[in-house]
Symmetry: D2
C-alpha cells in the first residue's frame, strides 16, 4: 500500500518531552486530508463556486508517543456521509510497525458563499462519494 | 471575571480563509491548560518526581470562524475526575460578545517515569481537586 | 518599562532540545511588530486602502538557549527609515535578567494593491515616523 | 536534479494574506537542512557524543509571495566553513518555474555537552566537508 503523506519526525515537530506535539498531529491530519481530497476531487472547480470545506469537530486519540527520527504515514477514509456533514476516519501510523500513533474522526460540512452548510446531494454528493473508492486512500 | 489567557488574533494565526486555523486552537487550549494548572498546582514538584500529564483524547468543536483582529479569551474547568484520567472542559470565547468560538473536552492521564498511567489518589488526587476551586478558572 | 508582548515559554514552544524553536521566535517577533504597529498606527485605515506591510528580509541572531518556564518580553524600535523600506530592530529578552535571547533586523516595504512597493512619503511617512516616538516601544 | 524536500503549499501554511507565512519558511528550511545533513552525515553517531548543531544566525530574503496550491522544493549547499562555524546557503524554489521564493544564509556552530562551540577540525571537519559533495544537494 502506498501512502499520500509521509512525514519524518524532526526536532521541530517535537515538544519539550521529545515527542510529536498534539497540535502538530492536526497539521499531519490536515495534510493528508488535502492530499486525499485533491487526489479524488476537482477542488478548484468547487473553490470557484465559493464552496468551502468547514471542519466542525475533531475527535483525536493520541495512542503512542512518537520520538524524533521515526517515520509516519497517514490514511484518510470515509466513516460516514450524512445529510449535511461528512465524517472522515484518519490515522497516523508508524511506517515500519504500522502501529497507530493517533487516529481521529473529523466532521466537516460544506458551506456556500453565504457561509451556510449545504445539503450533500446531486453533483456534490457524487464528488464526495469518490472518496469511498479504493486505491491509496 | 478575569481570564488567564487572552489572545489577539493576528494574521499569522489565520489560514488561507482568513480564520484561525484548527491546529492553532489546540495551542490556545494548551496555553490555558498550563496557565490554569500552574496557577493551582506546584508543577515543578511533580516534574521532579518524573510525573507528566499525557493528553490521550481531544474532542473539539469549532463553532465560529474567528477573523483576524478579534480578541479571544480561554477558560479551563474540570469536567470529571476518573480513577485513572481527568477530563477538562475548555472554551475559547470571543472576548467582547462572550460567544463560544470553540470548546473542547480534553482527557489526560498522569504517567510516571516508566510511562505508565498512575491512579488518581492520595496527594495527587488532592492536587487535581484544586482545579475545581473557583476563582479565575 | 512596560512591554506590549510577554510570553511564558511552554512545552509546545520548545523543540527536541527543550529550547524555544527558531521558527517560534519569528512568531514572537511578529506578535510584537503587530502590537507595536497597532499601538501607534491606524492599521485599519491603511488596510482599507489596500496597503500591506511586506517583510523582505529577516536577519536574526539566536544568542541564548531559552528553557521552558522562562518568561520572555519583546521590544520593537525603528532602526532606519529609507526611501522605500523600513528596518525595525527587535529584541526578545529574558524578563527577569534582561539578557537578550534573540535580536533581529526586520526589513519591510509597504506595497499597494498592485503589489508594488510604494515610496515612504507624505502621510505614510508621517505614520511610520510615529514608531520612533518613545513610550512602551 | 532531484530534491530531498518537496512541499505542496496548503491553506494551513498560508496566513491572512493567502501567502506562505514567514515563520513557515524557517520550517521548510529546517526540514531540508535535516534531510541534507542525514543524507551525508551519521547524525546518530554525533548525537551519542552529545554533539549538537546550534543555529546562531538566520538571514533570510523573502523574494516572492507564494500562493496556496504551488509546489516548492528546497536546496541546501555549503557557503563557507570557518574555524568555529559553518554557513549554509538555502533556497526555496517554485518547483515548476525554478524561481526563488526565498533564500537564506544559515550560520551554525557545533556544540559539545557543555554547550560550548567546538572547533571544526579532525573527524568533525571531514564530516562537514561531505556536505560539499555534489549530488542531490
Amino acid at each position: 500500500m502506498e501512502y499520500l503523506t509521509e512525514i519524518k519526525v524532526r526536532g521541530y515537530h517535537a515538544d519539550f518531552y521529545g515527542h510529536v506535539n498534539n497540535a502538530r498531529y492536526l497539521e499531519f491530519f490536515e495534510e493528508d486530508r488535502w492530499a486525499t481530497l485533491e487526489s479524488k476531487i476537482d477542488l478548484k472547480k468547487w473553490a470557484k463556486q465559493g464552496i468551502i470545506f468547514l471542519v466542525v469537530n475533531i475527535n483525536v486519540n493520541y495512542r503512542l508517543a512518537v520520538p524524533v527520527g521515526e517515520t509516519l504515514v497517514a490514511t484518510t477514509t470515509i466513516e460516514k456521509i450524512g445529510n449535511r456533514s461528512v465524517v472522515l476516519n484518519q490515522q497516523i501510523l508508524i511506517k515500519e510497525s504500522k502501529k497507530v500513533a493517533a487516529d481521529a474522526l473529523i466532521t466537516f460540512v460544506i458551506a456556500d458563499k453565504t457561509g451556510r452548510a449545504v445539503a450533500m446531494e446531486g453533483e456534490m454528493l457524487q464528488e464526495i462519494e469518490k472518496l469511498r473508492s479504493s486505491g491509496t486512500v
